[in-house]
Every structure is written in structure tokens, then in C-alpha cells.
């Protein structure tokens, strides 16, 4: 695969974060499993399916972290400022 210096093509810190959720039973709750960082949505979907495959989920979905609407936040004084 070439020299080590040729392996880091880009700054992965620029990648978007996606939160990953899944349901174990059809009538069970949707759990927050964790997150993946990926350059785009197809890669994020592929990664989420591969990384969080420890259980036979009946449903899994991802959501861009930027789309999450804060209700209570450690960073913002929501309702005050």
C-alpha cells in the first residue's frame, strides 16, 4: 500500500459526525449506540452498520450531529440567553 507518509490523504477532523441509533425489538426503545465520523452519508451508513453489528438489530438509523436540536445543553444556556 505504499509508504506510510502516503497513507494520510486528508484531515479526518473535518469529517462530519453522525449519531447512530438502533432498536433491538420492534416494540422496544430506540437506543443511542454511539457515533461515527465519515466524509459523507454513504460512508457513514456503511460504517454504522459495520461498527455497531454486535446485535441483530431490527432497526438502525443515523442522524448528522449538526441536525440534532438541543433541548438541554451543557454548552448553551437555552432559555436564558
Amino acid at each position: 500500500m505504499g509508504l506510510v507518509k502516503q497513507k494520510t490523504a486528508r484531515n479526518t477532523m473535518d469529517w462530519e459526525y453522525f449519531e447512530v441509533f438502533a432498536r433491538e425489538e420492534p416494540d422496544g426503545p430506540l437506543f443511542h449506540l454511539g457515533s461515527v465520523s465519515a466524509p459523507n452519508k454513504p460512508a457513514a451508513v456503511g460504517q454504522a452498520r459495520m461498527v455497531y453489528s454486535e446485535k441483530p438489530w431490527v432497526e438502525m438509523c443515523i442522524c448528522p450531529r449538526a441536525e440534532v436540536v438541543p433541548v438541554i445543553s451543557v454548552n448553551d444556556m437555552i432559555g436564558i440567553a
Partner: protein
């Protein structure tokens, strides 16, 4: 064994052996991921591919009344039905992405010809494995779409060098398809090829500056004179010794590091769903 069964076994070996080699590509490439989820995803894809291989091997061993693990441990590389394009190691990230994507598309399209066939055990397996293979293609597509300019150039070079080797997997040898006639296969190989070309054109035209006609030109299905139609590869073509050693190690140190077969295959180790831990799951 009937002619239909014989051809079916050959076709399934083409798919299983190719997945077997591809799974080892993923394992070898794992640490070239760009982030931790990348590396974990490659580990998952390798695990899936090797799992699919063993599932098909087990089906074949049952039907051929072979001893267990005969197809994995009882053959020499000359007997494999692997895709020739995987016999040369990837030269760079772009080459890896393109080759793995082409192979995933080819494996799925050929395998999916059995999706609604008359062999219900096989069609059920295709359905189950197909759900996992979809995510392999999607992950690779995402990485291809995110490729840098240099990586795009490498992907185009890779398509030019390996595209024909993958596309000719679908070559028709002029003989009638007994699997299609008998209903074991519900779609023909020609339709599988059309689907493969659609898949590749759709992603490559987005990931690179190539247009549809240019991509199709790089995917001819012409075969060499010494083509072995049963193995879908050039007669006598064999995996390189280094790759075979990686798949079936003979080095004593490596053999010692491997878990005994009785543990890795027969024991159903479940470290996730043990009752004493399940109460803490995602609490």
C-alpha cells in the same frame, strides 16, 4: 451428480472463493483506514466476507457429502475459483477502493441470480447475505466519493488495469445456462452483467470525471483463448504464494497463534448476550 448440480457447485465456488480472497484483502488493508471507525468497518467487512465464504462452503460440503472444512483446508490454490483481479495486491488507496468495489458489485450481481430461484435453501442464503453485502458496497462508495484528486487518478488507473478482469467474470461461453433452464437461477448471467455495469457506472461517474461511455469501454467481457469457463478465470491462473500463505498459513509461529479449529468453528462463543451483563447494555 447431475449436470445442474455440478454447474451450481462450480458457480458457488466462484462466489465463495472470491469472497474468501476479498475477506483477506480487507484484513490486510484494515490498518490503512483513515479513522478508527474506518478500521473497524474494514474488520467488519472482512468478518462478513469470511463468514459468507464459510456459509457457502458448509452448504457445498453438506451437498457434496465432503468432510467438514474440506473446502477451506483441503484444497491447494490451483483448485480455487477466485477472481483473478484479486491476485495482484492493491498498489494504493485508490486502487484498493476501485478493486474492492468492482469485486463487491460482481459478487453480489452473480450471487443475486439465485435470489428467487427454485433452490429455497440457497435463495434464503442469498437474501440474508445480500443484506450485508449492500453495506460493503455503500461504504466503499462513500470512500470513493470522498477521494482526493490523486486518489481519483489512481482509481481511474485501477479501473483501466483491473476492470476487464472483473467484467469478464460474466462472460458467456456460448453454452446454454442449465441453471437458468432448470429454474435454480431466476435471472441470467447477461442480466447480472447489465446490473454490474449499471452499478459501476453509477458510482464511478460520480466519483471521477469519467463519463458513462468511458467507463463501459474499460469493462469489456472478452476472454482469453485459454479461458476456464467453470472457474471463470484463465486456465492455470493461481493465487500468488504470499497471498495463499496469508489465507492458509503454514509458518509454525502463525499456526500456533491461530485458535484451534475446534474452538473457532464449533464453539458458539457469545460474549455479548450473557445474562449477567445484559442488564447493563445501553443503560
Amino acid at each position: 451428480m447431475s449436470e445442474t448440480d455440478k454447474v451450481l457447485m462450480q458457480e458457488l465456488l466462484c462466489i465463495a472463493d472470491t469472497d474468501w480472497v476479498l475477506g483477506h484483502w480487507y484484513i490486510k488493508v484494515m490498518l490503512n483506514g483513515r479513522s478508527l471507525p474506518d478500521c473497524t468497518a474494514f474488520a467488519g467487512m472482512g468478518q462478513d466476507s469470511l463468514g459468507h465464504t464459510r456459509a457457502i462452503f458448509r452448504l457445498l460440503e453438506d451437498r457434496l457429502e465432503l468432510p467438514e472444512h474440506q473446502l477451506e483446508f483441503g484444497r491447494q490454490p490451483e483448485a480455487l475459483h477466485d477472481l483473478e483481479a484479486l491476485s495482484r495486491p492493491p498498489q494504493n488507496w485508490g486502487d484498493f477502493l476501485m478493486t474492492a468495489f468492482l469485486t463487491e458489485c460482481a459478487v453480489w450481481r452473480l450471487f443475486s441470480t439465485f435470489l428467487d430461484g427454485s433452490d429455497k435453501e440457497l435463495s434464503g442464503m442469498v437474501k440474508h447475505l445480500g443484506k450485508e453485502l449492500y453495506f460493503h458496497r455503500l461504504g466503499l462508495e462513500g470512500w470513493m466519493l470522498a477521494a482526493s484528486d490523486d486518489e481519483c487518478a489512481d482509481m481511474k488507473l485501477s479501473l483501466a488495469e483491473r476492470g476487464a478482469e472483473v467484467a469478464r467474470w460474466f462472460a458467456a461461453d456460448g453454452a446454454s445456462d442449465v441453471l437458468l433452464e432448470s429454474g435454480v437461477r431466476n435471472t441470467g448471467v447477461a442480466e447480472a452483467l447489465a446490473g454490474f455495469l449499471d452499478d459501476v457506472v453509477s458510482v464511478v461517474t460520480q466519483a471521477t470525471d469519467l463519463v458513462e461511455e468511458e467507463v463501459l469501454q474499460l469493462l469489456p467481457t472478452a476472454v482469453p483463448e485459454d479461458w476456464d469457463a467453470a472457474k471463470r478465470k484463465t486456465a492455470g491462473a493461481t493465487l500468488p504464494a504470499t497471498l495463499w500463505e496469508f489465507m492458509i498459513p503454514t509458518d509454525p509461529d502463525t499456526v500456533a497463534l491461530r485458535r484451534p479449529l475446534s474452538v473457532s468453528v464449533d464453539d458458539n462463543l457469545d460474549l455479548v448476550d450473557r445474562a449477567e451483563y445484559s442488564h447493563a447494555d445501553y443503560a
